[in-house]
Point group: C2
Chain length 413, copies 2
């Protein structure tokens, strides 16, 4: 069964809105095992809509159309669909009832313009929208089934899950059960991850790579005659991935690096504080994005100036003067200083040159030192030479810092 995804709207053609509905549905359907063969985007133009409905009908077995179901004059999808199917429009009582109910709750009247949304092509199957105002519908013509869904991402996704995916599965009774996971790695380039996983492919397993800045994510689907068969295959395959990639894998459940670090701190009943220079607060920001992080993250200091390093963190001025603010002794002293200041179990210190200015021959842009201090492991530090823009250097430094904390719990630092 070939699927076409048809996203519509002038705001997509002009780049004002990112086509998140296509990316989400392409990913969801592909990794469930469907064949998403075509994707088309067009603007709000009735004739063009009709022509792409026709193209889709001739090459796909299922067409998912999103957008253009709203009340404004540039919402033309219902009209274009009815003309293409060569039927009239009729009032959908259940859709009107649901809309009236929705409007009653927010104490608004169903206006003339909104009424346009509940007149749907004759003979269609109405897909009630419990998440917004615009109802969807499906229509079968010759051997192709069309689904029309609203473009609002939250409503689109909910209706895909409620109506479209179950219907597509029903139409593919021979389709296998599937299981999906997202494995994330940090520390190896994509080519080396691929090299370590060479030959891992096997039947009923689908594996894809996604470079997410410096993280390499592995999207895995397994298929079986039953869910438990797919899950067992997944368990074995994930074990094989972990055996080959070792501690480069930081999650097999799709978590973010800061969530993994948060769990490690929580499970080990430890607290953390951070002294940042070149990352300017990004490390603390990432750590505090995790709900509940206030229970293990005590404090951050962004010591951009030498005075701040010395006065607040107690880094001796002589150390800064003799080694420079970007140096091993200084980040070690920063890590110790912030741990002492906050009374946390672990302290991290970062100093570097994010650029674009400030580099020297000896310490070019991208030179970064990270220091880690804890009672159990003492003080250690590492030097890095990164490349990229200011924002990229900030980001890769933060990933390295988070990973150093993680690895310290695995006794790898």
């Amino acid at each position: 069964m070939r699927i076409e995804i048809l996203t519509t709207g002038d705001e997509l053609m002009s780049g004002l809105t990112r086509d998140g509905n296509f990316q989400w549905s392409g990913e969801t359907l592909t990794w469930l095992g469907f064949d998403v063969a075509y994707h088309t985007t067009v603007g709000d133009d009735r004739l063009i809509l009709k022509s792409v409905f026709n193209t889709a009908k001739n090459r796909a077995d299922a067409v998912i159309v999103t957008g253009g179901l709203g009340p404004t004059p540039d919402d033309l999808t219902i009209e274009a669909a009815a003309e293409f199917f060569n039927v009239g429009l009729e009032l959908s009582e259940p859709a009107l009832e649901m809309m009236s109910e929705r409007f009653r709750k927010i104490k608004r009247e169903v206006s003339e313009t909104n009424m346009k949304q509940v007149y749907l092509p004759e003979g269609c199957r109405v897909l009630l929208n419990k998440w917004g105002t615009a109802p969807g519908f499906s229509y079968e013509i010759e051997k192709t089934v069309f689904f029309f869904l609203p473009g609002v991402p939250k409503e689109f996704r909910a209706m895909m899950e409620e109506y479209v995916i179950p219907e597509l599965k029903k139409r593919n009774p021979q389709m296998k059960k599937s299981c999906m996971r997202l494995v994330k790695t940090f520390g190896l380039p994509e080519s080396e991850v691929a090299q370590k996983l060479e030959g891992i492919e096997r039947e009923h397993v689908k594996l894809g790579y996604r470079a997410h800045f410096r993280e390499i994510h592995l999207r895995v689907s397994t298929f079986g005659d039953s869910s438990s068969e797919a899950e067992l295959l997944m368990k074995e395959f994930i074990e094989e991935i972990c055996a080959r990639l070792g501690s480069y894998v930081f999650t097999t459940e799709g978590e973010m690096l800061e969530e993994v670090v948060g769990s490690l701190l929580t499970h080990n009943n430890m607290t953390l504080s951070a002294a940042e220079s070149c990352t300017g607060g990004l490390l603390s920001h990432r750590i505090t994005n995790v709900p509940g992080s206030s229970s293990y993250f005590l404090q951050g200091v962004i010591s951009y100036s030498n005075e701040a390093k010395s006065e607040i963190l107690g880094v001796p001025m002589e150390l800064i003067e003799s080694h420079g603010a970007v140096s091993e002794p200084v980040v070690k002293a920063m890590a110790q200083g912030i741990r002492h200041l906050s009374g946390s179990d672990m302290g991290i210190g970062i100093s570097g040159i994010a650029g674009p200015g400030g580099g020297t021959l000896e310490k070019p842009v991208g030179t970064v030192y990270i220091g880690l201090d804890s009672e159990t492991k003492g003080t250690l530090s590492r030097k890095f030479q990164f490349h990229g823009t200011r924002e990229e250097i900030k980001l890769v430094t933060v990933l390295k810092a988070l990973d150093m904390i993680r690895q310290s719990f695995l006794n790898n630092v």
Copy 2:
């Protein structure tokens, strides 16, 4: 002239890679005044590629194809194109020369697999790639011109600007000259921005809205017989926008809010420091994303705990105990404390409940106080009630904080 953009690659269909090339080229071409009518995406399949080339030829005057020019077996675009145009492949000497030169520089040999990339359809016009290895090409069939470009975004964009856009302009001699600007506003919802701009539309001006989290961006193009005519019209139109929206407009040049704040601090020769609680470092991160920010941003403290607020910032414990850490007196004391500690001209203090936990009846999740302290204006504070996820509350708080600093220079706070 109708344009179709055809992006190819399995990684796009499966959602592993975001289709940035379409968004960028759709936006660029639309706002230059071109009619981008169709966008298609398909995977790496020779037969499907040929079929969509055919569909595109029948409905578009210019087709821009991206992806599939690489050396691997799933790079099928050249082959499919030659078959579709019904011609053979021939070695392009200039393309080979450029590739050899490139490989010499990085001390690599041109391999058998790379050679595949320089055999192009007979009779095509070669588009040399100065930014990467894969050459592009264009080919005219009946009344449609096809451009084939590599999928690597940096190379795609450079070749669009070097070859495709000038060629499209040449083929549209009657096209007007254009001028493009990005105006950004903060503080009003999209509906209110639209209301204030009602009736502003005029001939030869194209205006589009983009909601960028809580900022509303206005994309403007003006057109004229000469560049100076387009620029004059732009100047007048931008003045009209600013007259209607006042200080909600924070840039007419596409800058980010933190860049505007940085310029204001620099021009007024003032320094800043920040004491953050619920935003966890995001404000400092955003401020320090701006190159050169170290000249005006002295220091940040992330005082997650009450002890940090009291010990480092000198917020009296009694104040925290009697009013709570999330309160007007505390953020005022935080702003004064960080200014005193760092010796900066301006200090900002933020305290709030980012959630999802920690809310109370009196101070629900999303309650945020921001304090601002400077010698010239004294200490002031504002209370906000935000809604959304933890990350959204952090982000909107930071935008409000940046905007409060900006407005203080306009004497609006």
